[in-house]
Symmetry: D2
Subunit: 407 residues, 4 copies
């Protein structure tokens, strides 16, 4: 269905060629400052037509909050959001509209609904993501204000050009120190310095060249986005089916064109040994435990441990290309298809705010779920737990056990 989340819940509507697209955000905490402008910031970043490298379809995408706020303050009631579709398309079909585009959603939508929208795979349109980005922007505002959480996504790969991540061969450095440093420090300003949204200068240049040359061939190219979430409290994530990484993977693979997800050391980490991969604990200045390395990506046993959460998402090359392709009609008659007009040769730059939005939705929902548990737990706090079941006294028990074992 078109709803995501349990306590912070987003429901979206709209496809490419209808009147408007929008969303209802339910569960936003009451008493937070919120205006259209807070949402518009991220919508502007996902908007098409930002540069020669993205599709020129130019839409203002102005959001209008319909409900749920008064005098710029959230009421706790559902926030209705709407963005007009100004680029309506009339119902006249060109030849290419009548083919199921290869690797697009045209065919599968028809199989699913047994009705064909004029846009083919209507809801698989990138316009559907407007509602998510808006909902994510609101969640992010709360998370930033209350916890100082920072969510930064950036383009980490286009085709075979990757921001360097691994050295190869060295088991003790599953990912490179430079890469880990980038994750610790990268800001949205760094990311937005170029239209590719890659903060690694060398890679960025190569990516630009690759996208330009691919576009010139009327072709498209895939890529990856990496995202880091800094400042997330420990304890988020619901065992066992709704582990933090499971919800995150769910969220990310619900973004159009995604095919892969990895958190922390990811596939790279599967090649490592436990002794190299384990993250040893140490005491942080605030008294809580931290980990010296962070190959876990901030999540252990499905629950956040307070370290940075980082993950990488793979996007396939856009299916719609102007290059001719041999394929068939819905009825199975062989034919040749070449999409008209200009299309995004690479989606990853525009995917950056969508990834950030989906990340914010997951963190927000998990935060509220944990708030309920923590508050309920706190009201029982007077209970004296038996030795070994609480935090207190464990170190003393270790001493005692050591003595026993020494005898």
């Amino acid at each position: 269905m078109s709803t995501f989340g349990s306590l912070y819940r987003v429901t979206t509507f709209g496809e490419s060629h209808c009147k408007s697209v929008g969303a209802i955000i339910d569960g936003c905490p009451p008493g937070m400052r919120l205006t259209d402008a807070d949402v518009q910031v991220q919508l502007r970043r996902r908007r098409p037509g930002q540069s020669a490298l993205t599709t020129p379809r130019n839409e203002p995408d102005l959001v209008a909050i319909q409900s749920g706020t008064e005098q710029g303050i959230t009421l706790g009631t559902p926030i209705g959001l709407m963005v007009q579709n100004t680029d309506h398309r009339p119902h006249d079909y060109s030849e290419t509209d009548l083919y199921p585009r290869p690797s697009h959603a045209d065919y599968t939508y028809l199989e699913k609904y047994d009705v064909k929208a004029s846009s083919g795979g209507g809801r698989s349109s990138a316009r559907e993501t407007i509602g998510r980005v808006a909902a994510g922007a609101i969640a992010e505002k709360y998370l930033k204000e209350v916890y100082g959480i920072e969510i930064v996504a950036f383009v980490s790969g286009v085709g075979k050009v990757h921001v360097p991540r691994t050295l190869g061969g060295d088991e003790d450095e599953i990912l490179t120190p430079d890469y880990m440093k980038l994750l610790n420090t990268v800001t949205r300003d760094d990311v937005d310095k170029n239209t590719i949204r890659c903060p690694h200068a060398d890679s960025c240049e190569k990516m630009t060249e690759l996208i330009t040359s691919t576009a010139a061939k009327n072709d498209s190219i895939g890529g990856t986005v990496t995202c880091v979430i800094r400042g997330v409290p420990s304890g988020l994530g619901e065992p066992v089916f709704d582990k933090f990484e499971a919800k995150l993977a769910h969220a990310m693979l619900s973004i159009p064109a995604t095919k892969a997800f990895e958190i922390g050391s990811g596939f790279q980490g599967t090649e490592a040994t436990g002794s190299a991969h384990n993250d040893p604990f140490y005491a942080k200045p605030d008294g809580k435990l931290g980990t010296r390395s962070n190959w876990s990506g901030g999540v252990q046993g499905g629950i956040t441990n307070g370290e940075n959460i980082y993950f990488r998402i793979g996007f396939k090359p856009p299916a719609t290309i102007s290059k001719e392709q041999a394929t068939s009609t819905y009825a199975g008659v062989p034919g040749t298809l070449a999409a008209r007009g200009r299309h995004d040769p690479c989606v990853v730059p525009r995917a950056v705010p969508i990834v950030e939005a989906m990340a914010a939705l997951v963190v927000m929902d998990m935060t509220l779920l944990q708030e309920a548990r923590q508050a309920a737990r706190a009201r029982l706090a007077t209970l004296n737990l038996p030795p070994g079941m609480g935090r207190a006294g464990v170190d003393q028990m270790i001493e005692e056990v050591k003595k026993d074992e020494a005898q």
Copy 2:
């Protein structure tokens, strides 16, 4: 929470050291033959103690269906399932139990619940997966009987040993023909021929050596599991948030120790161009459309297209190792930890039936959701759709448009 699925829904209970573990399966279609034996088959495959390569903790894990069947036939009511925990552990702590094991769930569970179970991260235990495997076995039985669906998972990587997947350099062959052939043909019998559960003989031998040598060093090693689902009908998957691959990623990353997921060409495909990656359509003998290549992995726009669904999952090296690790106590006092006894040096062989189970749960749930839509749609079938909105007449429209455009 501990529930997965919407119309076919599994809820599990149980941790390492409680009386029993089990599950309630709700939404199983009525009128299907089902006995304990149908479930036991897969439980036996996930059981510890199967070989020298896996943990020797030996448990019979005999399942007992409590409800929901009569005379070996499902009633459509919830199926209660229970497996006794015979390997209870008394509440005496050894030194190592009192440390938060690095990269294990001990610390994060305490952060989440503010109570420490004797097993540390209780529900993160592999024993919790018993309920899932049982639920998956029932789903699989239905899917096989009704649709002939086959789900086969196998070990595709241990450490740096991988079943060969890519050639490198050749854009037109994103994955190798041999690998694609393996996905088309591999059976569970092939997989179970060795305890590693790798059907690729060369790799299997190397994996065995690697696991043996790793165990000898009191260390552990990561790995990958690949799974293929054959025979899934087109039209499954719910736009937009519950895309087929999103639910699949959610399901897979809810399995303990997973860190990565990719479907179809996955991360490899992000390096390809659209013209190489797009899967062209052709007419299959049954009149439906098929695709000549299948880099999409059977899913387009979040909806199955009838082709094989295949995906790969990354498992980190097990956190519990006998090798000494420098870490700290809950209170932050530096210390040294070495787990006692023997532990799984590599989880992927035992993960195989769990991956299959989670895959079955996703397919089953998505199938029921689509059944509701299809049945509701069929009752409206007499409607004459306008040209271009149905299947009929599209090819004729193409001809007409071609003529118009030619003028």
Copy 3:
């Protein structure tokens, strides 16, 4: 939260004084004709300002479908709906706005959200029901087209004036034959013949007088609405928590100002004996079983049996009255409150389409849930059930058992 339903799901947004109110309807079957006009019909019936007996606040309440249809046909994707709020209220407070109105939601909303909307209990406003009525109208269209289902609600009580229902004393006639006949035959046209929406002429006249005299005293009066659903297939309703009547009660008590719900014989039936109350089976011409009486109200064991579903809902007198009331401020200072302007002296006439809408939402959702089960069950149909577990052969078994028992 602001979402109702599982497979046919409605999410609403909007309060009294925001830009617009609306809803997203998810799960509408694809391929159904649908235009704004289909929805407008019921919105017009719930609109204020229809007569001297209801509030004069006059709003056009024109609905605009935003998405989910093309060329007047549903796509199966979410239907966004919006109705502008033309009667914005500026943020200037009169004295009475600053009191928590007794028995209104002002105080409890503040307790819940810790923020006070200018309208007091914002979402408790009757304007929120616009989204439900719209969603219900779409569901009803489907149910009527596909199953011929008829949903008719009417005013059955205002104050102490009731449409006669019981004789008193006669156990065999728990409700009167005239009342049961009314339920079998009443149409929406009958109901709309007068502004009270009571199809029983005698009662209607008395109700009109009572409302008029109550309004003259600046007071308000409660009432009841009865609803009948005819033509519902058997088998709807989900054991055990989501019994048909449980969902219906949930739906009805989510309507503002409701305090009571009864299905079938209701509270009256609690006074009866089993022998009088049981509904004996007989064979209907179509081969299915019917019941000779219908004190169950069409539901047995939480599942519909194919007979008419009827239920009655109690609405308290509107809380907002112009008569002076002694009460207190939020800070607890005693004070006197009299609402300004004119208010609905009785809500039941306008509640009629809302009750019908909520009934349609329940039937629609339950229908889709049962479609999934039935379709899944049908695919297993070749199974030969053991004797006594299927429909076939039961009558023969009765004969055999009779013989055995006779010996």
Copy 4:
């Protein structure tokens, strides 16, 4: 489905004649003392065979907690619960088993599932309620410990014998002072003084006679249960679809044999005027607002206001009676049916703990939902709300507005 609740969630399994019945309780706060005995108390109260007035089927119904606790303390993980079915029935059918019992679930279950359980309507069995009562007992323990909440249900009607509630005629006393006093003071000990569970001595005596005489005629009789919840915090209940009373109605009408629900003044209140029915506010000693009367039943606008919550539920007469009934077979052949053995002539005494359990489930779930909101709201608390949007300064505004209006 067989799941109830969102954050405190119960899933039940089991029917009359299977191995065991049970439940999984998910979302119980960690760190609470809990043993089998805490649950057994209420199970004992719902058990059959307690007196001559209830069915003699005698089962120990001993509960065994399977998981989710250690050393008598909850871990926050799911609590598995099991009760053996010791009264298995073999699969031999008597004549009467082969008829669809009038007003029972036999026929509708067959319509729903297309498979017939030996017990007829398997899950509609009262044994399914064991899981709910257990789950409710755990919720109640938390609510009592943390908030001092008291939940007391009692039998308020059997047939035409009712605990006196209304005077008739007097609009200002919608319910009598004696009845309201009973609600304020009744304890579980008062209720359990007799097997009827009616704390009103006069009524109790008449009820006993009525049940005895009804049983002697091989017939059954309906009744009502009233329940009061004292000490519930204000602010519980989720606008708009999950109003407190809507969830309560849902919960109550999911209990077998229920047909009616009313909260506060209920149907009686629909006859009143607003001026009589409105509950005026006053300042309580703790500084919060209370209401002088409580016709609302503790809920306004779907949200609790801190006053007592009280409601009444109607139970139809049990369908299974030994008296002969003319009915038909599944195939529609007319026949005569008389149930064998002894049956409950009246269910309301045993329904008392089930009503309390369902009430506890609703309060618990709503409490956790509000905890999440309140905690999230509190973290934003530094915001200075504009005048009129917070609690502060409203009284001053009233003074100012009064002056303005006076000019």
